[in-house]
């Protein structure tokens, strides 16, 4: 097998985001372009410097028309959040190969204005009343509870930690502090998952600018290096709640991502975990080897993921549970701002050098980004 040779071959040099909320006066394309304009300004480049575009959840032709971006390289990805990681990996590969030099990656979502329900669509199991990604995760979590003794209260520790982070983030949609009891007392959406185990559907746009390390040196801000990434898909249980929490796929990713980045787990200062529903945080931590399988519930207790308390500050923006469900895109923005030292002192991970993005989904993936490569 050929050596993996994408280490530190691409940098994130600009990030931009809109406000998150309800914006019926615009649409997904408008939000995406606004975010991109902010990212272009953040990088200190002009739109003319962009020679590649990777879009997520946006109509590529309309986006190109509206943004007046006509490049030799355009990729369009489906609305699933797993494509946040895939898009970043694609850009790093394209930049390393020379297919493009400076790529705009753009996400736009008007799901809240469009009253996206994420449930109630026709599907094979609808005659039995089963629907929604949340219900699928609830089914997985009940299995985890039965198999390992994990409890709903364990998830409360995750929700509380992320909400604490959101109170330090002016951009977060939910900033009211919550307690473990608040989590337990919040209504069931799909038992065993409560309201506070669910992400927050909102309108918003997010964009990143990525380029070569050479070009990055001339840009306005200190580059964030894409040091290593790995991915393993498992769609074998795509029509059912998977019965393995994507654990084997995540283990494969774990076996590659640190080697590829050239650092060890101990060098990681904080995490960004794709938290569409709180149980995926446990699945990600277990699969990536932060704790043994089945011990995630114990692991996240008492502030392990909380800034200023635990070893692994996670989703310091509040994540999807408390900042906004920008499907992974805003988590990367937070990571970049952390690595640049741009967030408020109370939210800053001290002496941060390396962060790890982890997705427990049918596309199991992880990306390590650094500021000291």
């Amino acid at each position: 097998m050929l050596d993996w040779n994408y280490r530190d071959k691409a940098c994130i040099v600009g990030v931009g985001s809109t406000d998150y909320g309800v914006f019926p006066e615009t649409d997904a394309v408008g939000l995406g372009v606004s975010a991109l304009k902010a990212a272009v300004d953040d990088a200190g480049i002009s739109f003319d410097d962009i020679d590649g575009v990777i879009l997520n959840r946006l109509p590529y032709d309309r986006f190109a028309e509206v943004s007046n971006l006509n490049t030799p390289y355009l990729q369009s990805t489906p609305a699933h959040g797993r494509f946040s990681a895939i898009a970043l990996m694609m850009a790093a590969e394209a930049i390393a190969s020379g297919a493009a030099t400076t790529i705009a990656l753009v996400y736009g979502n008007d799901g809240r204005s469009a009253a996206m329900k994420y449930g109630g669509d026709p599907n094979f199991w609808a005659p039995w009343g089963f629907t929604s990604p949340g219900a699928s995760h609830a089914m997985m979590f009940r299995r985890h509870m039965a198999q390992f003794g994990t409890m709903s209260e364990d998830l409360a520790h995750i929700a509380v930690a992320f909400r604490d982070h959101a109170t330090k983030n002016p951009a977060a949609v939910m900033k009211k502090p919550i307690t473990l009891e608040d989590h337990q007392n919040s209504r069931f959406i799909c038992d065993p998952l409560h309201l506070l185990d669910y992400c927050l559907i909102n309108d918003g746009g997010v964009a990143w600018i990525m380029t070569t390390p050479e070009r990055a040196k001339d840009m306005k801000k200190k580059p964030v290096y894409v040091s290593g990434f790995a991915r393993q898909d498992d769609f074998s249980q795509n029509s059912l709640p998977p019965n393995d929490y994507w654990y084997p796929a995540l283990k494969k990713v774990e076996s590659q991502v640190y080697d590829r980045a050239g650092i060890s787990r101990n060098d990681i200062d904080g995490l960004m975990i794709y938290d569409n529903f709180s149980p995926t945080v446990l699945f990600a931590l277990e699969g990536m080897g932060f704790c043994k399988q089945g011990e995630g519930g114990q692991f996240v207790r008492d502030g392990m993921l909380q800034l200023g308390k635990g070893r692994w500050p996670t989703n310091t923006s509040g994540g999807h549970l408390s900042e906004s469900y920008m499907q992974g895109w805003a988590l990367i923005v937070e990571g970049v701002r952390q690595l640049r030292g741009e967030v408020s002192a109370e939210r800053q991970i001290k002496d941060v050098k390396a962060l790890q993005f982890i997705l427990a989904t049918a596309v199991a993936g992880s990306i390590i980004i650094r500021n000291d490569a």
Partner: protein
């Protein structure tokens, strides 16, 4: 009373499954080469990647491998039922299905409960396989 819950959208692959249910038989596709069962119904076996498979009648016996209780109203037809459970059943043959529990009585729904299939004729045309605690 009109039945207003979602009905199966039987296609050319799942049609025989629902036809079997109408006849009181629980069917799944089995790969003729590997003998592996697969579900939901598919055009080809995931092992051989071709159409060398057969419909086989299952025992209808299994255990509850997980369950949820739906509290949110997503389908108008289930609006009066919330909160209602959906169970995941792992059948003896290894096939997993999502379904409904019936005749639970005073028993508490638990993972590991043995169940067996029953056939619920919900309309003149449609019968749904559901499960009850095993005798």
């Amino acid at each position: 009373m009109t039945y207003n819950k979602p009905l199966p959208e039987a296609d050319k692959w799942s049609g025989p499954f629902f036809e079997g249910a109408r006849e009181g038989r629980l069917l799944a596709q089995q790969c003729n080469i590997s003998k592996r069962f697969f579900f939901p119904p598919s055009p080809v076996s995931p092992v051989t990647r071709d159409g060398n498979w057969s419909w086989v009648e299952l025992s209808g016996k299994g255990t509850i491998s997980s369950f949820v209780v739906m509290h949110q109203k997503y389908f108008a037809g289930f609006g009066d039922d919330v909160p209602y459970p959906v169970i995941e059943v792992e059948l003896e043959e290894g096939v997993r299905l999502l379904s409904s529990i019936v005749e639970l009585g005073e028993r508490e729904l638990v993972v590991g409960m043995p169940v067996e299939v029953v056939f619920d004729k919900v309309t003149e045309e449609v019968t749904l396989p559901k499960f009850r605690p095993a005798a």
